[in-house]
């Protein structure tokens, strides 16, 4: 049974409709985003599901996950905080920002907070060099930019998310 297709029948069809039917392999990237939406990584089963939909090998799908940096084959934080430390941002204090943010969260770069909510990573240029320090947050199937940041602003947002998640868990 194809779980991806079963779970998102309409979305899969919408994605496939973007490309000529004889070149449906083009749909592999959007389908991987779909597979990653729920858990913020691509579960093994999804590789097979996508391979089946596109009539390509599971290895081919896995190699795409390995090549592109925005797909993950292992779970990380529910939100991935990705701080740009490339040259223009670094000239405006991005390395120090990243280091201080990690210290405040008590983790190393690349690590995840004990509550499993946040992974903090250094990434390459995000096309926001004039608004450093900047990070993007990957989670909930979205990517959202946070620009002109300070450690205080970032921590305030992190606490907000923590409170939101806690409130949700209380209710359920």
């Amino acid at each position: 049974m194809n779980q991806l297709l079963q779970k998102y029948p309409e979305e899969v069809q919408q994605i496939l409709a973007k490309y000529p039917p004889e070149f449906k392999r083009s749909a592999v990237m959007p389908l991987l985003y779909l597979a990653q939406r729920e858990a913020n990584y691509v579960p093994r089963q999804a590789l097979q599901d996508i391979a089946e939909i596109l009539e390509i090998s599971t290895t081919d799908v896995a190699s795409i996950v390995g090549f592109y940096t925005l797909y993950y084959d292992e779970p990380g934080g529910r939100y991935r905080i990705q701080v740009c430390t490339d040259l223009p941002c670094a000239l405006r204090g991005a390395d120090r920002f990243l280091q201080e943010l990690c210290e405040r969260l008590g983790i190393e770069e690349g690590g995840t907070t004990p509550d499993g909510l946040f992974t903090v990573e250094a990434v390459k240029c995000l096309a926001a060099c004039h608004r450093a320090p900047v990070f993007q947050v990957q989670g909930d199937g979205e990517i959202v930019y946070h620009e002109n940041q300070s450690v205080e602003l970032a921590m305030a947002w992190i606490e907000e998310v923590r409170a939101r998640v806690a409130a949700k868990e209380d209710r359920s």
Partner: protein, 427 residues
């Protein structure tokens, strides 16, 4: 279309220009309608040729000439808009996509008509997730309003637009890697020739243009080539968005005529260098630049056009101007650029894959104060061995800052190996 002080960043004067009604009120889609209902495709290509518009993605290739390479006996044709924008220091396409998206879409549509493509893709870097979703909504609005779809304006011409999100790979900005990625494969460059104009997307003739290039088209088609040529320089006509970053008081995008000087950009528009420090170097094309060493003040008067920047040993590229003042350690800077290219090498060709790995090791060793003086020469040697041997330009880009950095700022490197080696940074 109303002309404001900005031609591409018109949203800076016109509020809510990203709304279809507002864009229409300001002359939106009149150029597209005129082209489809009154002009032959060849006439459109001739007009763009005559305007002298050159590609804004980096290489500066004349746009109209590129379009004319598509063979008319091989169909279908495709148009692909390159919105991968990943060069460190570049953030101009993003502002167009966010602020003035309809002008870009109209540009894609004009290009599509010119080469008679019925399907065009906009390839966006994965990080532009929000932008892509907004574009999808705008495309749906255009379909509803009758600007996209079948038999446009009662003519036989039909056109559809689609977005496609990448997933974090600088190499996918390279046009053949982009096509591979769009076909659902690893983003690795193809051997050329054949060029995409003949064998492109799905093996068919394809035009690939940068976001900014395409955003010029509605105005060129409305106001004509002569009007466009009246701006900029003889060989680099028109306006350009300069992404200004690094050691400046007011970093940001500045839309100015090609041929504007570095001095005007940095001091008049960018508000000068913090704390009145001196400009020591400039990278005019992002991390891929040959570094310009400002050994003499008059170098700041170099006009920023394709020819003049090349004449002083660098290149304009995508015009991502990173300003470096006298507080910056150029060995640290080189370690940053090399680390970028090591991370982004696609791994397909050996000189780039292995070379960027070794350059990164050596540069890290130098700035960590663990290198010998020979390591500096070794870094230079490795860079020289990469140059000219790679499958695509990424490998060439990776050595630019290394070779020009060591040649012109050697003392910054020596400082680290002579014992005093602190882990200096720029920030």
């Amino acid at each position: 279309m109303t002309t404001t002080p900005h031609l591409l960043l018109r949203h800076r004067e016109i509020a809510n220009l990203d709304q279809l009604e507002v864009y229409l009120q300001h002359g939106g889609f009149e150029a597209f309608k005129k082209v489809v209902t009154q002009m032959q495709p060849a006439q459109v290509i001739d007009e763009v040729k005559a305007s002298g518009l050159r590609g804004r993605g980096g290489a500066g290739f004349p746009t109209g000439i590129k379009w004319s390479f598509l063979p008319n006996n091989l169909w279908p044709h495709y148009v692909v808009c390159n919105a991968d924008e990943s060069e460190p220091g570049t953030f101009k396409d993003r502002e167009i996509l966010e602020g003035n998206p309809f002008q870009l879409l109209e540009g894609v549509m004009i290009a599509s008509y010119a080469v008679q493509a019925n399907l065009a893709y906009i390839y966006l870097r994965g990080e532009f997730w929000q932008i892509a979703h907004r574009l999808d909504e705008k495309i749906a609005e255009l379909e509803k309003a009758g600007f996209l779809g079948e038999n446009l304006f009662g003519t036989p011409y039909s056109l559809q637009l689609r977005t496609h999100l990448g997933a974090g790979a600088y190499i996918c900005g390279e046009e053949t890697a982009l096509l591979e990625s769009l076909e659902g494969k690893l983003g690795q460059p193809r051997l050329r020739p054949p060029f995409p104009a003949v064998v492109g997307l799905y093996g068919k003739p394809t035009v690939i243009n940068n976001v900014e290039t395409l955003t010029n088209l509605p105005l060129i088609l409305e106001k004509g080539a002569a009007w466009y040529k009246s701006m900029g320089t003889e060989r680099s006509p028109g306006v350009k968005i300069f992404s200004l970053s690094g050691c400046v008081n007011r970093p940001g995008n500045y839309e100015l005529p090609l041929g504007t000087t570095f001095r005007e950009l940095i001091y008049t528009h960018g508000g000068g260098v913090p704390e009145g420090r001196q400009v020591r170097g400039i990278m005019p094309a992002g991390a891929s630049s040959a570094i310009i060493s400002i050994t003499e003040d008059r170098l700041l008067d170099t006009p920023m056009d394709y020819e003049s920047v090349a004449a002083i040993g660098s290149q304009l590229g995508s015009a991502s101007v990173i300003v470096l003042d006298d507080s910056v350690d150029f060995a640290w800077l080189v370690s940053k650029t090399v680390n970028f290219f090591k991370h982004e090498s696609c791994g397909k060709c050996t000189p780039c894959r292995e070379g960027t790995f070794w350059m990164n090791r050596l540069a890290q060793r130098i700035i960590n104060g663990r290198a010998t003086p020979e390591d500096i020469s070794l870094l230079e040697t490795v860079a020289n061995q990469i140059a000219g041997k790679c499958l695509c330009a990424l490998g060439e880009f990776s050595v630019m800052a290394v070779t020009t950095g060591i040649r012109q700022f050697r003392s910054d490197f020596e400082h680290h190996v002579n014992g005093s080696g602190s882990t200096a940074t720029g920030g």
